[in-house]
């Protein structure tokens, strides 16, 4: 008997995602990923001043505000071939890494951990045992017995009042939940601590970005932060010293709590290293530019085919021709029309955003997301792609943290877990934690670079752009938390003539392309187990491993009865 399961989230962020799966014999046999909201932001931008585009595009998504701002100015700067002051790169790089850390911590603990962690089971835990276990894994100073006892009492209080608050909508007692009570208790304690720690990442973004959640400081040509060694009301050394303290707090948490926690969860769910493999062509871009032009980067990126690191082809600079020429988008299964017919694919500079809504058609159009391809093939983007590219490029810090993560999992699981386990649902979580360790080091490094450069007396943060007569085009790319983001702009006589955003969720969650080939979400969901179609926790695990912006509401459609069972999921 085939059951159809529809997961229809409730947010509009990045286009309100819905996932449908057909379940047969306890496994997913068919999957559809559908963006449920028309994203016509590109059309708003046409005719506007390219210097204003960043402020508008950062409103596309509530989770990824800064990333669109930064990608947009990079696109316009690429069109102008405008070099920016190196201080501006350092400040942007710190915003990028702080934002990324914020996103990773919140994603793991607050948006996806409860797919793996059973809060109610933590009530059975022995806090002393939990403390002994946690202390054996990490020097973190908040793993004491007292801390765990307090947390257990707190959960008991919530359960007693029948109000689990933020923990509502969990699949407590689901057969796919496998962590021992002590590990569940540790995870809940760290969930609460992560609420405190994530604020330090937010504070960094808001001090450097002049305002939060929507930063105010970027500009085509650099940043609008006047730097000063001592003056008030600008980015002073004193403020930067506060930033340094927050970086240290993030460093401690990411290395002593986040990475070990992911390893512990991974060790208890070994079967999930074999689920959710899907597309193993991986695309990422280099980020954290170290020079004004964007020809040297702290973190490498590029293209890997068929899970083989030997095929790695690096992307090396802003405006990289290999990247620029490789991207195109199809709309055969998306609710758009192309002038040249819907079997065509279009390069983003020639991209069209003309809606053509048809209703959800399993074999026809079913999504507001287009289907992007890289040299004709879909690609997976995100932390796993990023980590693999950095490993392929021989990036030492990435090697160090990836080895640490795999060694920890191997020793806990008492079996050798290799890199191949990363091509999976749980592997995407592990990669995100590995990348977070690399990024927190880079955040500190970019801080050092900024201070050293200020020390040399260079306080420049902005180069004024001038727009030529006639037509120019540029691409800005950015390795955002969820993967490769690119903005493509065509400017004519100083006004925007065309603008396209190819966002990470489009790469991963896009529908079948013009050749009928699925994107990453759909491909990764195939063969996913589903113990109970009315509680499709396993499907959520795989979808959440990509860090879709938010939680989902799940509706299960039973084909025979045509009955809609609403199940909420966090």
């Amino acid at each position: 008997m085939t059951k159809r399961v529809t997961i229809d989230p409730v947010t509009r962020i990045e286009g309100h995602l819905r996932v449908d799966v057909e379940v047969n014999g306890g496994k997913v046999t068919k999957a559809w990923s559908s963006g449920q909201m028309w994203r016509g932001v590109e059309n708003i931008l046409i005719g506007r001043d390219p210097r204003d585009a960043w402020a508008i595009t950062q409103r596309i998504c509530g989770v990824c505000t800064t990333v669109h701002a930064i990608c947009s100015v990079r696109a316009v700067e690429d069109a102008l071939k405008l070099e920016i002051p190196v201080n501006a790169q350092y400040i942007r790089n710190m915003i990028i890494t702080a934002h990324n850390l914020h996103d990773s911590i919140v994603h793991f603990y607050h948006l996806s951990a409860l797919d793996w962690v059973d809060v109610v089971s933590a009530l059975q835990a022995d806090p002393d045992k939990a403390s002994a276990l946690a202390e054996s894994l990490s020097p973190w100073n908040r793993n004491g017995k007292h801390e765990f006892r307090k947390v257990k009492e707190k959960i008991a209080g919530f359960v007693k009042t029948g109000q689990l608050g933020i923990f509502t909508n969990g699949y407590w007692g689901h057969p796919a939940m496998k962590l021992p009570p002590e590990v569940n208790l540790i995870a809940v304690a760290h969930y609460l601590q992560a609420l405190e720690i994530q604020r330090f990442a937010s504070k960094i973004v808001s001090v450097l970005g002049s305002k939060s959640p929507h930063i105010q400081n970027v500009a085509v040509g650099g940043v609008a932060n006047p730097l000063a060694v001592d003056s008030q009301s600008v980015l002073t050394v004193e403020r930067l010293l506060a930033v340094k303290e927050w970086i240290e707090k993030l460093d401690e948490f990411v290395k002593q709590v986040y990475l070990p926690d992911v390893a512990v969860v991974g060790a208890h769910y070994p079967e999930w290293t074999k689920i959710g493999r899907g597309i193993v062509d991986y695309l990422s871009v280099p980020d954290l530019p170290l020079d004004g032009k964007g020809t040297q980067f702290a973190l490498p990126g590029g293209y890997i085919q068929n899970a083989d690191l030997g095929t790695f082809k690096p992307i090396t600079q802003f405006g990289d021709k290999y990247f620029e020429a490789g991207v195109s988008e199809a709309v055969k299964h998306a609710w758009y029309s192309y002038k040249d017919g819907d079997n065509a694919t279009l390069h983003p500079y020639k991209g069209e955003t003309t809606p053509n809504y048809t209703d959800f058609q399993d074999e026809g159009k079913y999504s507001w997301l287009k289907s992007p391809t890289f040299y004709g093939k879909p690609a997976q983007v995100g932390p796993l792609s990023r980590m693999l590219a950095m490993l392929a490029a021989g990036h030492e810090p990435t090697k160090k943290y990836a080895t640490l993560a795999l060694d920890t999992v191997s020793s806990l699981a008492k079996t050798k877990i290799g890199l191949d386990a990363m091509h999976s649902t749980i592997g995407r979580h592990a990669s995100r934690a590995v990348v977070a360790c690399v990024q927190v080091d880079e955040l500190a490094h970019q801080w050092d670079l900024l201070l050293a450069n200020m020390g040399k007396g260079d306080l420049k943060t902005y180069n004024k752009p001038t727009f030529p007569k006639g037509e120019i085009a540029g691409v800005g790319f950015h390795e955002a938390p969820r993967g490769v983001l690119s903005h493509w702009v065509v400017i004519d006589d100083g006004k925007i003539k065309n603008y396209q955003c190819v966002v990470p969720t489009t790469w991963n969650a896009g529908p079948r392309n013009e050749k009928g080939v699925s994107g990453a979400y759909e491909a990764c969901l195939l063969d996913n187990p589903v113990a109970d179609p009315e509680k499709p926790l396993e499907v959520l695990r795989t979808v959440h491993s990509f860090d879709p912006c938010l939680a989902c509401a799940v509706h299960v459609v039973d084909k025979e009865n045509d009955q809609v069972v609403k199940v909420k999921a966090a």
């Binding site: 509009r12 932001v41 989770v63 607050h110 608050g165 604020r199």
Partner: protein, 166 residues
């Protein structure tokens, strides 16, 4: 150093989707027309979530402006108070329920929830792509702003109107 705010007026919504951005527009209008005392924070929250946790911790009063779906005719203005607000977000009718309900629940969990909450909402007329409010929603801005001011007044704050603002 600046005073820590004890009252916040938070506007949420997406300003690229016409009336969805009403909350942000209300906060903009409040700041444009009035000078607020230092302990009152006016915050354009956009569609953000956890980033807002810190500025909203330990408040005496939180006033939220937002687009809401309450089954009323488009353009209706509603005022919800106290317990109704978190309950309202739990039933998931607001377009931004995830961000806000998670946020309020997280504040609850860390024992830093606001002592009082009020929500001033507008049933949207349109959620199409576009940066301007519909004329119907635009016409409701003064009424919603009055409700925000009334909520501020209950908390003992009477903001000074800035002279010469139309």
């Amino acid at each position: 150093m600046t005073t820590t705010p004890t009252i916040a007026v938070l506007g949420v919504g997406n300003i690229l989707l016409t009336d969805e951005g009403i909350g942000v527009r209300i906060v903009d209008e409040l700041q444009r027309r009035y000078s607020l005392p230092e302990h009152v924070l006016a915050l354009d929250g956009g569609t953000a979530g956890m980033e807002l946790l810190e500025p909203l911790e330990g408040l005496d009063k939180l006033i939220i402006a937002d687009a809401v779906r309450v089954g009323q005719p488009p353009g209706s203005v509603v005022l919800l108070q106290g317990d109704e607000v978190p309950k309202f977000f739990r039933t998931k009718i607001s377009p931004h329920q995830i961000g806000l309900s998670d946020l309020l629940a997280a504040l609850e969990l860390t024992e830093k929830a606001p002592k009082a909450v009020a929500l001033i909402g507008l049933q949207p007329v349109s959620l199409d792509t576009g940066m301007a409010l519909t004329p119907e929603a635009e016409a409701k801005v003064p009424e919603m702003l009055e409700l925000v001011l009334a909520e501020l007044a209950k908390a003992g704050v009477v903001p000074q109107a800035i002279e010469g603002i139309a």
